[in-house]
Subunit: 449 residues, 2 copies
């Protein structure tokens, strides 16, 4: 047993840790065990001292790789925000004003309001849905003039009109999280959904493009147009009902978990306009695409929308989770969208420094360039198909994605999988030519043999 | 305007901060603006330099008050866990094994499995519900022998049997969080629920005890017995159905948000036994009651249950959120209960040190004593009613709880409100005789005038 795994990754020490963890937690999801003290830059060092090129970055969560020296410098000022965890919406620290204004410097165009209070991407979307429901209720159901008494008492019974049967429209193959509201909009894989009750919310098809794009231009135009029409039909039918129910529509700029599915800018422009036309909140889920990896800070900047999204949710590389919106989406009453912590100020302090480094080192512009070259090179490699990407947010298809990423791991390169047979790259923003070169060599090696 | 507020709390600087925040966030919930650097022990220092006795502690979230000296000492070792945010269920750090074992030292009796991966109390309960649903599905619906194909395809359509109509039974006045699943079990106040869709889940009455307990012994026995019968009826009827739907039951040891409603140990013992009898997961929500403030580490230790709870959820003073359970509640498939971060290791490092201090300084035993004396003294005060509590988890009723706590704030004591007209004390575990004495004096003063 010990000999068998001597030179394999994960090695003996990692495997020991995994089986110890397995007694107390579900360890079946563990891929590697890291040594955080020794990891540096784009290289993860694992518990067995293997130095691994990390092109997955804790599921797209590391904006600046491991132990960035500039981040390590500024530790002491974090302490008061670490030692006591504030209830940020009740007793914010006095530095909170500056923190928020710093966050506004990265607000998507047209949005000037921020909710920072969610524990993960799911929490961000759950609260965004609530904002959309409240907004919709006020604009539409309020006209029914139910008495306050009636609304309040029915809400306590989870029934209409206090708890209205409102819904969020999402797309096939979408992934928006795993809490019960979010899971009702997630359509990526059955395993996330089985055994769990869900709201009976509608879904529409997301364009399934064919590659290479130049070759299938016509088919892809038809596909996009089909999907736009379907969204129009669903919303039109809903609005014909005595009581319309679709309050919001949520979409990822690139469907990460569902297979790195891309759609052209005009798809997003058209569904955004449909949302506006039918009075549906347009929500963009940038949990995985946000913070520069597509070559823009927010992936939806690639679309040049006529009207900005109503809500943009974020997590992962942002270190915190939440959403940007406008004052219009502030709930009618205080405490309607609220929780005890409303986020973690220590993570916001860290984000502030991360944003400074991204700007100083021009990391987004660099990521756009690196990504362009990497995409070109990948397209030349035989045995990988459907190469697609924006910035370094790149994916391609292989015959067996699990087998392939396992082979790459033995070559000390960590990649992710998604969809049916896709491999996804989610490097951090400090991924440069040197790492790109190494990655390409290893991919060539692993696709040849 | 400036003169008017010169000596009031919040003062000018705090108000300026609030209105700046209000442009970007919902600032209507803000009570005070803190100076975290200057705050110390039981005293919060606000942005205007007021030193305020904090008996609310960021909604029961500070186990050791502000800037505990022992916590400040150990900062450097936190850095690698702060600088990069790990995906804990995919690439845990090698120290993770020790962290988990440390957490197991505070596991509720009978539970040996832990989920640490939720961003707040709501996330903890959402995931606990999912564990209960999966467990119930496997035990009950699996016998229907639906094909895997049928389960998988229907789940993708949010319909039966893949997405079964399962439910969680909760209690009137309960508060279990604000995400869409949790909100369907929350029944404390309409304002949390209006405009938001909810699952049509059942609820039962929670005993409404009358005080003083000695005087209403008979009435209270009847009330408890009525509530137990109701739970029995609901579960019995559900089990008569062709397809039973109630998978779990969730209860708080003390209903914090709903008015600090207590029930005797035998109520909990009986509903726990009913849950076992009917095959319903018994979930105890210790988000607010956990970590010592009731005079036991977990409030449900006061009950001496015959069978331990199936799931105990936590957040707030724990610094992290999640739940304890048994291996039996591990989902059938990996990734069924999962998210990118699965918690925050830097908060777990902090928790580890907090637990050491609690033990070294015998803070739970001390809290039990302080609480007992404080409760006795409060019972002597005229004009406050229904004094009730366990440890320092104490509440009482006044005519107008908002007016009263506002008056107390001007006397530089911060308290919370709950329910209709209740005032709740949620001090940290370093609240001692000196603070208790000061609090009592101020309460006497504010109830006299």
């Amino acid at each position: 047993m010990i000999n068998e795994v001597r030179n394999r990754i994960p090695g003996n020490l990692s495997r020991l840790a995994m089986s110890a963890i397995n007694k107390r937690q579900d360890a079946r999801t563990i891929r590697l065990v890291s040594n955080l003290e020794k990891s540096h830059g784009n290289y993860l060092v694992d518990a067995d001292n293997n130095k691994i090129l990390d092109v997955y970055c804790n599921i797209a969560s590391l904006p600046l790789g491991y132990n960035h020296p500039k981040l390590l410098q500024n530790a002491e000022k974090f302490l008061p925000y670490l030692i006591q965890r504030s209830s940020l919406a009740v007793i914010p620290p006095n530095s909170w004003v500056n923190k928020i204004e710093k966050l506004m410097s990265i607000a998507p165009k047209g949005l000037d309001y921020i909710h920072t209070g969610c524990g993960c991407g799911s929490g961000a979307n759950e609260n965004a849905f609530k904002a959309a429901f409240i907004n919709f209720f006020n604009k539409n159901l309020a006209s029914y003039k139910f008495s306050e008494e009636k609304i309040y008492s029915s809400a306590m019974e989870n029934s209409f009109p206090g708890s209205p049967d409102l819904s969020i429209l999402s797309f096939d193959k979408a992934f928006h999280g795993r809490t019960l509201g979010c899971l009702s909009t997630t359509r990526s894989r059955p395993i996330h959904k089985i055994n769990i009750p869900a709201f009976k919310w509608p879904k529409a098809d997301f364009p399934m493009l064919r590659y290479p794009l130049e070759e299938f231009e016509y088919e892809n135009i038809l596909e996009v147009s089909r999907c736009v029409s379907q969204v129009n039909d669903i919303l039109h039918k809903d609005r014909q009902k005595k009581r319309p129910t679709i309050a919001g529509m949520i979409v990822e700029p690139i469907q990460g978990e569902g297979g790195d599915n891309h759609a052209p800018a005009n798809f997003f422009k058209e569904i955004r306009n449909l949302a506006k036309h039918y009075g549906v909140s347009f929500m963009v889920d940038e949990v995985q695409t946000g913070v520069g990896s597509t070559g823009k800070f927010w992936a939806h900047e690639h679309w040049n929308l006529d009207t900005p999204p109503d809500i943009v949710s974020f997590a992962k590389k942002m270190q915190i989770s939440g959403y940007f919106t406008t004052k219009e989406y502030e709930p009618t009453h205080p405490f309607q969208i609220f929780n005890t912590w409303m986020g973690d100020p220590v993570r916001i302090l860290l984000l502030e420094q991360i944003l400074e480094i991204i700007e100083e080192d021009k990391l987004i512009k660099k990521t756009a360039e690196i990504g362009r070259n990497l995409l070109d090179e990948l397209m030349q490699i035989k045995n990988i198909k459907n190469v697609r990407g924006q910035g370094t947010f790149i994916a391609f298809d292989v015959k067996d994605n699990n087998k392939f990423t396992e082979k790459m791991l033995q070559e000390k390169v960590l990649l992710g999988t998604c969809g049916e047979n896709s491999v996804r790259l989610r490097p951090s923003l400090i991924f440069n030519e040197e790492h790109s070169e190494l990655l390409l060599t290893k991919i060539k090696l692993c696709t040849l043999t």
